[in-house]
Structure formats: structure tokens, C-alpha cells
């Protein structure tokens, strides 16, 4: 009798989960198909490789926005990946487990949940105004870098935690120092996880709009940024302008075309991440 009830319950739960999964997959599929069908018509070589033409958007392309977003991704990576991974190594391998350090870890986790617009405000006050970087690629990279850091630190810490302690002990017992152990055992076995986490963080930063509006993105530029102190165009902001501010009758299609390019870039990054993860998974055996 009891058993029957359990089975019934299980079935009900399964059905609920199934419906939820089905619903989200269908929704996602619908969005993607909609963007693809509506946006693909504007995509051609000209659209991808020429400068933006603000008067007649059918003549110009989104090249500067693509380049701007790629520059931004590179800038964010240069800033946040080394610092994030080093911080995680310090926190997980060296920092004592005391109240102070636990508080720091907790704060980092909380920072990961702060809305991106708040980072934008911080970037405006700190990088743009106080450090006088101006609204620029540099300020935007640093701002998005700050936003991505907590995420990279947290996922890197998880990757380090997944290396069994027995490996560390074995290495120390063989006369290796702590640094040697980290270099020869801990890092080779966690770098993949740290990089996949980092890439995920970067690809999310690539899609951010709100913070970069405040610190350097511009909606119209007919040249490419020449230095880190130049303003830049970026796909998400461009897409926002086209969808809401532009009067051209074609702006809707061009917005969706831009969205398609952005999605493609982010998907490519994530695909790269899956390849790394798959390669490492097949090697991982503990």
C-alpha cells in the first residue's frame, strides 16, 4: 500500500519535471527560431564587414560592433582571468580557514549576485571619473572584469576543490613543497574547470548592455577603436538602439540580425568550452 503511494508520488513528480523541462526547451527553441527566421534575411557579407551607416542602415554593417564586442571580451579576459584564478588559488590553497577568510569568500559569492547596472555605476565613478580613463574600451573592460571576477573566482575555487586532497597529500609526502604540489598536481587537474568557468563568465559579460552604456559603449562610430582609451560599439548596445531608438522601417530586422550575430559569438565560445570540458572529462578518472 505504502509502496504504491510512493510510486504514484514519484510519477507525479516526474511528470511535473518533464512538463517544466518541455516548457523551457520549447520556449528557448521558439526564441531562437524567431530570431533566426527574422534576422537571417539581413545577414550578408556587407552586414558583417562594413562600417555602420546611421542614415541608411541597409547600406551599412555592424563590423565595428562585432570588433568592439570582441575587443571587450579580450579586455575582460586579460583582466579577470589571471586575477580570478590567482585569487581562487590563494583562497583555496593558502588562506587559513578562519572567520575573516570565510567572510571574504562569502562576500565574493554575494558580489556575483549584484546587478550589473551597479557595476556600471561603480565603473563610471571609479574607472571613468576617478582614474580618468574616460568612457573607453579600457574602462568598460575593467568594469565588466570586476563584474566577472566573482564568478571566475567562485567557479575556479570549485575546480580546485574537485582535486582530491589525497593527491596533495601524496605529493607532499614525496618531498614536494606546497608550490611544487600546486604546480605539478593541483593546477594540471583543475585548469580545465577553471577555464571553462572563466569562458562562461566572459560569454555572459559579452552580452551585457547596461553597464557598458555608462562606461564607454557608443551607438554610432564609423571607425574602429584605435586605442584602449577610445569609445567603442558593442553588439548588445547596438541591438538595443536598433530595437528601441531607430526610426528606419528595417530596424527590427537589423536588430534581430545583430542578435543572431551576438548569439553566434556567445555560442561559439560556449562550444569551445564544451570541447575543453569533454576532452578533460575523458581524461578524468577519479
Amino acid at each position: 500500500m505504502v509502496k504504491m503511494d510512493e510510486q504514484k508520488k514519484e510519477k507525479i513528480y516526474f511528470t511535473i519535471f518533464k512538463i517544466a523541462t518541455f516548457f523551457s526547451v520549447v520556449l528557448l527553441g521558439f526564441i531562437l527560431i524567431y530570431i533566426f527566421v527574422k534576422g537571417v534575411s539581413v545577414i550578408n557579407l556587407n552586414f558583417l564587414t562594413s562600417m555602420w551607416n546611421h542614415q541608411d542602415i541597409t547600406k551599412g554593417g555592424i563590423f565595428p560592433a562585432i570588433i568592439g564586442t570582441l575587443f571587450l571580451a579580450v579586455g575582460v579576459s586579460i583582466f579577470s582571468i589571471p586575477i580570478g584564478i590567482s585569487t581562487a588559488i590563494y583562497l583555496n590553497e593558502f588562506a587559513k580557514d578562519n572567520l575573516f577568510n570565510r567572510l571574504i569568500k562569502l562576500s565574493i559569492r554575494n558580489l556575483a549576485g549584484v546587478p550589473s547596472i551597479v557595476y556600471g555605476l561603480f565603473g563610471l565613478a571609479f574607472f571613468v571619473l576617478l582614474l580618468k580613463f574616460g568612457t573607453s574600451l579600457l574602462a568598460a573592460s575593467l568594469t565588466l572584469g570586476c563584474m566577472t571576477l566573482p564568478w571566475i573566482i567562485t567557479t575556479s575555487e570549485e575546480a580546485l576543490k574537485s582535486v582530491p586532497n589525497s593527491f596533495r597529500e601524496a605529493s607532499l609526502a614525496l618531498g614536494a613543497t606546497k608550490i611544487e604540489t600546486i604546480k605539478m598536481i593541483v593546477l594540471p587537474n583543475s585548469l580545465g574547470g577553471m577555464l571553462t568557468g572563466s569562458i562562461l563568465g566572459i560569454s555572459r559579460a559579452m552580452g551585457e548592455t547596461a553597464p557598458i552604456i555608462m562606461v564607454g559603449a557608443t551607438f554610432f562610430m564609423n571607425y574602429l577603436p584605435k586605442s584602449a582609451f577610445d569609445k567603442f560599439m558593442a553588439l548588445p548596445y547596438h541591438l538595443f538602439i536598433l530595437a528601441t531608438q531607430h526610426s528606419s522601417p528595417y530596424s527590427r530586422e537589423y536588430a534581430l540580425g545583430t542578435a543572431l550575430v551576438l548569439i553566434f559569438l556567445v555560442f561559439s565560445l560556449n562550444l569551445g568550452m564544451f570541447v575543453i570540458r569533454y576532452k578533460l572529462r575523458s581524461k578524468k578518472e577519479w
Binding site: 597529500e169 609526502a173 614525496l174 614536494a176 613543497t177 605539478m184
Partner: protein
């Protein structure tokens, strides 16, 4: 008369405020196998891990007293932990090979020490695997992952890995507890063989194992040495009532 390799004097050990070892005095003799036996939780692993200062990695420990290794006070020289561990190797309870090839597992200690001579490394890897009675089983697949080995082979690989840096003393913490009787017998054989060149200290909760392989046995209870003597003596003619109870199975 045998030489003393390690002398423990007045050793107290604490995890935070909790005292685990009480006033331990114990000698380990050169080229002998000494077993540490006692019920689970009595402090065998803790005592063993004092000998290569593995406990140092746990925060909040405190050690009082002296451990002399060849007249050298293990707990006086603050910076020599690495040197100590090169001389006093360790094999753990669960086989813990690194996620790398069999060859690279054994050569790890040499590589850490900066050894570059490939031929020398090859030679030592081979010798170490032979000493650990593993060479014949793995000679054709030195480059396969250590995880492709069985549990018993993995543990012998860990022994070979420890042997490769030629330690003077080898500490083993219940090395057979996860293994079947055949794999256990192989390890016992090899330990008896290598004691010619090394001093061996083994923690075991298996009294039969202690009887089979060790020259000396120490019975530990609640962090105190109850009795230490030659193995035959301890099992056949225990002096202490507590020892008698333990080996007769009255206890645990």
C-alpha cells in the same frame, strides 16, 4: 642487537584542545618491520603521521616532545619538512596514484627534485617497480594511466613511487585495508623483502597481518602505548592485561 632508527620521547599530540597522544615513548629499529596495532580511533594514524610531519598540514595541531631520527630532532628544524619527507616516505590507506601514467607516477618524486637525466629516471623507475613486485605486470604499459590498474596494483604502484626517492624509512597506514587477501599477501611479501634496505613502520588493524610480517609490535590504546615488544612475545606472552584482552578479542 639492532640499531634504533627513530626514537620518540614524551610525545603529546593535540588536535586543537583535544589531546590524542599521551606521553608516547617508542623506538623503531633499523631494518625491522614494526606494526602499530590498536582499535580504530586510538591514534595510530596520528602517531604515524607525526613521523613525517604530515600532521603539519592540519591547522590547529600541537606537538610536544621529541622525535629523533638518526639523532636529528624532527620537530626542531623548522624548515626541513621537505628533507624529512624525502628520507621518511609514506604509503596511504587508500591507494592514491596521481592521475597520470604509471611511469610518471613513479618518477614524480625525482622530477620534483629536479632530476633531468632521462636514462637515470628510467633506471630508477624500473628498479622501483621491480622492488614493488609490479614491473612484470606493467612493463608493457608504462604509459597507460595509473587508474587502469587494479586496487592491489595501484597500492604497489604507490609503494614503488615512495621507493623511487630511496627513503630510509617507509610509513604505511593500513595499506591493505582496501585490498583482497591475494593482493594483501603480495604486499606483505614485498615488505618483508625490502626491509633489508629500509626501516618499515606499518599501521594495521589486522592482528594476523601484524603477526605475519612484523618483527616488533606496539599496542596503542586511547593514545597511550600499552605494550611494545617483539611480535611473538607480544602475541604469545602479553605482559599487560589490556593487550591480552585485545588480542583475545575481548575488546573490539
Amino acid at each position: 642487537m639492532v640499531d634504533t632508527k627513530i626514537k620518540i620521547r614524551d610525545l603529546d599530540f593535540f588536535y586543537g584542545k583535544k589531546q590524542i597522544l599521551f606521553n608516547v615513548d617508542l623506538d623503531f629499529y633499523s631494518n625491522q618491520i614494526t606494526s602499530l596495532i590498536g582499535p580504530s580511533g586510538c591514534g595510530k594514524s596520528t602517531l604515524l603521521r607525526c613521523l613525517n610531519r604530515m600532521n603539519d598540514i592540519i591547522p590547529g595541531i600541537k606537538v610536544n616532545g621529541n622525535i629523533l631520527y638518526n639523532k636529528f630532532n624532527l620537530y626542531k628544524e623548522e624548515n626541513s619538512v621537505v628533507e624529512i619527507r624525502k628520507k621518511i616516505g609514506m604509503v596511504f590507506q587508500k591507494p592514491n596514484p596521481f592521475p597520470m601514467s604509471i611511469f610518471n607516477n613513479v618518477s614524480y618524486g625525482l622530477r620534483v627534485q629536479g632530476e633531468k637525466d632521462k636514462e637515470k629516471i628510467k633506471k630508477i623507475v624500473r628498479e622501483s617497480l621491480e622492488k614493488a613486485d609490479l614491473y612484470d605486470e606493467v612493463k608493457n604499459r608504462l604509459n597507460s594511466s595509473a587508474f587502469s590498474l587494479s586496487g592491489g596494483q595501484q597500492q604497489r604502484l604507490c609503494i614503488a613511487r615512495a621507493l623511487a626517492i630511496n627513503p630510509d624509512v617507509i610509513l604505511l597506514d593500513e595499506p591493505c585495508s582496501a585490498l583482497d587477501p591475494i593482493a594483501t599477501a603480495k604486499i606483505e611479501e614485498l615488505l618483508k623483502k625490502i626491509k633489508k634496505e629500509h626501516t618499515i613502520i606499518i599501521v594495521t588493524h589486522n592482528m594476523h597481518q601484524a603477526k605475519r610480517i612484523s618483527d616488533y609490535t606496539c599496542y596503542l590504546l586511547d593514545g597511550k602505548i600499552i605494550e611494545f615488544s617483539e611480535t611473538n612475545e607480544l602475541f604469545n606472552n602479553p605482559k599487560n592485561k589490556l593487550t591480552k584482552d585485545y588480542i583475545n578479542g575481548v575488546f573490539g
